[in-house]
């Protein structure tokens, strides 16, 4: 039987795209003093990857470039969404980043605490007490 490796290539590209969309976008947004710079870079890179997908004769390469390119294009939007998450306190701010420092001073909800960095406790809980409670259940 001949194995078809296309699924594995698509899976690897999909997982890499999602991983970068989560971890990479978070780290780059936290470090970048502006939102427009990473947005423009992601747009350019995403379009270049899609152009590569169109020009590639190899199906594996075309598929992988198409998937990663599309996720990078989505990441261009995610930088702005991550900025809003920081303002709302849904992601921790980096006080050493001047843009985040401004959000910390302008928005009461902005925080340097990562509310998600704990195990579930099984019932509703206020964010302010959730980390202590989760620590107590360990």
């Amino acid at each position: 039987m001949i194995l078809n490796w296309m699924g594995l290539a698509a899976a690897a590209a999909t997982f890499f795209g999602i991983w970068f969309g989560h971890v990479g976008v978070r780290k780059i947004e936290a470090a970048s003093p502006t939102i427009w710079a990473p947005t423009v870079i992601a747009l350019t890179l995403g379009l270049a990857l899609e152009a590569g997908a169109l020009l590639a004769n190899n199906l594996y390469l075309s598929g992988a470039l198409g998937i990663v390119g599309m996720t990078v294009l989505w990441d261009a939007l995610e930088f702005s969404r991550q900025h809003k998450r920081i303002a709302h306190g849904h992601a921790p701010a980096n006080p050493n980043n001047p843009r985040h420092a401004r959000l910390l001073s302008e928005y009461k909800s902005a925080t340097t605490t990562n509310w998600l960095d704990r195990d579930p406790v099984g019932h509703p809980v206020k964010p302010e007490t959730s980390l202590l409670e989760a620590e107590g259940t360990k």
């Binding site: 699924g7 698509a10 989560h22 004769n57 998937i67 959730s130």
Partner: protein, 111 residues
């Protein structure tokens, strides 16, 4: 001009988008402790894609499998989001997966 990659990228983006929906609904109704089973199903689909002769069929099965593996790593954080009120919290008892007590001792992975 090869349209395969562009098309596959668009469909995969849709599959990833669906992932956000099922992670929210799945955590709400089942809870996060099902993560090893969803991760296992994802890897099973990726392995099954090796035996699909169709290029599109294999690629889509692989993308769905990877999306399931990723989603399994999101369930724990989604449970925390619901507990602190960012998403609706389901107060009803959730079905416990087989070996739930063992799974509780494992650190749930997240990206």
């Amino acid at each position: 001009m090869n349209l395969f990659g562009l098309g596959l990228g668009l469909v995969t983006l849709f599959i990833i988008g669906l992932g956000f929906v099922w992670v929210i609904r799945g955590e709400y109704y089942l809870g996060y402790l099902w993560w090893p089973y969803i991760m296992g199903l994802g890897f099973l689909l990726i392995a099954a894609s090796l035996f699909i002769p169709s290029v599109w069929g294999s690629a889509l099965l692989g993308a769905v499998g990877a999306s399931l593996v990723w989603g399994s790593t999101e369930l724990k954080e989604q449970a925390v989001r619901a507990e602190i009120g960012w998403y609706p919290f389901n107060p009803n008892p959730k079905p416990q997966p087989p070996f739930a007590e063992q799974i509780k001792k494992w650190p749930a992975p997240h990206l």
